[in-house]
């Protein structure tokens, strides 16, 4: 077995290594899903949603976790916004949600449903 330098200094903070399609715009009608490279799930010990990927971990903050929770490849962006506004009893979240989705998309965490 050989242990590479990258693994000896595993950078658990880098989340943008697999960034792709940064220029693509997110439309309200887009259906987004978690990129199959990632496992998205709740982690009890961290009390947070996580994205796990080859040799990496991203701990999501509360808002990010809840947004990704609805990126199931079925709901379109406007439906995700509706769900979040209902869940958190808030209005006018669309701009923030779309902005985050663009970040998540650029990082490769989510992709347009194929």
């Amino acid at each position: 077995m050989f242990l590479p330098h990258r693994l000896m200094c595993r950078d658990i903070f880098i989340s943008g290594l697999r960034s792709m399609c940064a220029e693509e715009k997110i439309e309200l009608t887009s259906q987004l899903q978690i990129h199959p490279m990632y496992v998205f799930r709740w982690e009890e010990q961290e009390q947070a949603y996580l994205l796990l990927y080859p040799e990496g971990i991203v701990k999501l903050n509360n808002s990010a976790g809840h947004i990704l929770k609805y990126c199931d490849g079925v709901r379109c962006v406007s439906q995700v916004i509706d769900e979040l506004e209902q869940e958190f009893d808030q209005q006018g979240l669309d701009e923030d949600v779309v902005k985050f989705m663009e970040v998540a998309h650029a990082k490769g965490w989510i992709r347009l449903k194929t």
Binding site: M1, R10, P54, F100
Partner: protein, 382 residues
């Protein structure tokens, strides 16, 4: 609600997020840069399936998330599938680190079925004869077939190329081979000099010119391939003047379990001979991680000496690697000699310089084999 660029970072918060199980030191290959102990043949008491399962359960309880199955060659263990199954059920993200030898299509299918997420497979050269000479065993065709099988079963492929002076000039051709096989992640892993690699360092270390040439070729390939392939190429600590932030700090986020159940803060930790590493068969893992003297020996910064103590980079690189400090200076609390501020930096600089001279043209390499090395003379005649 979210702002772009929200803080999405995760530090260990004192948890061993990364767990590596070295299931066995057995391996069909004879790589002369192997990171396993020089005395690997002395470890015959591997943990049983049930003992590994206990480790998996206990490590989850103290926060482990990412899991690497490693070795030796983990495919040697016939219970690998059972362990992956257990690990996946417990909620780990499971990675397999293999040479590809013994990784048959049937076993790949079963590993996929039980939840394995990722496979890292090693290849040494795009030239079959050179690859086989480097690992001491005919294996090139099996490795390439394995890459094809991994793809066809739907795993992402991470191809790992341990880089020495013997393959660094082939970087461009290796990229082409990876491209041909639609590899998603290609890692050129410049060797780290511990154990077998340290033994063979004078033969393996590339020159700085070779390294710069390879880096330029990697950058060309990155520009050409864009998002189709992610290529890792980290300038190794020997050439950087800066020590690596090894393991993100001793006992910070990383836990390795050796084949016999010894718990280690990193794979190389047993090279620090005066530390006594606790065994999962004798002690609870929670105690091992949090309380044991070995895991606390170099945790944090209180163990540091000058120049680390007064250095404003100590929170970033933790003084570099404890094992490298011990291996080269005999004192694990010394600054890693790879740091240009270390009083021992000359040792690294002269090794790098020596590589240019190709000082020992007549010397062979010591392949990782039983009985290849002995410490008896030092013990008996000291």
């Amino acid at each position: 609600m979210p702002k772009a660029g929200s803080d999405l970072k995760l530090d260990g918060n004192g948890k061993p997020l990364w767990l590596v199980l070295e299931l066995t030191y057995k391996c069909p290959l004879k790589c002369p840069w192997c990171s396993n102990p020089l005395g690997f043949e002395d470890y015959s008491n591997e943990l049983t399936t049930q003992e590994w399962k206990t480790v998996l359960r206990d490590a989850r309880k103290i926060g482990s998330l990412q899991l690497g199955f490693s070795g030796g060659e983990p495919m040697v263990r016939s219970d690998l599938e059972e362990l992956v199954d257990e690990a996946d059920t417990l909620g780990y993200y499971t990675n397999l680190i293999s040479s590809g030898v013994g990784l048959t299509k049937d076993r790949l299918k079963e590993l996929k079925r039980v939840g394995l997420k990722q496979i890292q497979i090693s290849l040494q050269h795009n030239d079959a004869a050179k690859n086989d000479a480097m690992v001491g065993v005919k294996s090139f065709e099996q490795k390439v077939q394995c890459i094809e099988d991994i793809k066809s079963i739907g795993f992402p492929v991470v191809m790992n190329v341990p880089v020495s002076r013997f393959n660094i000039d082939a970087v461009e051709d290796i990229v082409k081979l990876a491209e041909y096989h639609n590899v998603e992640f290609l890692e050129f892993a410049n060797l780290q000099y511990y154990n077998w690699a340290l033994l063979n360092r004078d033969e393996l270390l590339p020159t700085i010119e070779q390294l710069q040439h390879a880096e330029a070729k990697v950058n060309e390939a990155r520009a050409r391939l864009g998002k189709n392939m992610t290529i890792y190429f980290v300038i190794p600590d020997y050439f950087d003047g800066r020590p690596k932030a090894c393991m993100n700090g001793w006992g910070a986020i990383h836990l390795t379990i050796a084949p016999d159940g010894s718990a280690l803060p990193c794979q190389e930790a047993q090279t620090i001979t005066h530390l006594e590493f606790p065994n999962v068969k004798d002690r609870p893992l929670d105690w091992i991680w949090n309380e044991s003297p070995a895991f606390n020996a170099y945790r944090g910064t209180s163990w540091m000496k000058e120049p680390c103590v007064g250095c404003d980079e100590k929170e970033n690189d933790f003084g570099g690697c404890r094992c490298q400090a011990f291996a080269l200076t005999g004192d694990a609390t010394n600054t890693d000699p790879a740091c240009s501020k270390s009083p021992h930096f000359d040792m690294i600089a002269s090794a790098v310089e020596n590589a240019r001279v190709t000082g020992r043209p007549g010397m062979p390499l010591v392949m990782r084999t039983r009985g290849a090395v002995s410490n008896l003379m030092k013990k008996v005649c000291a």
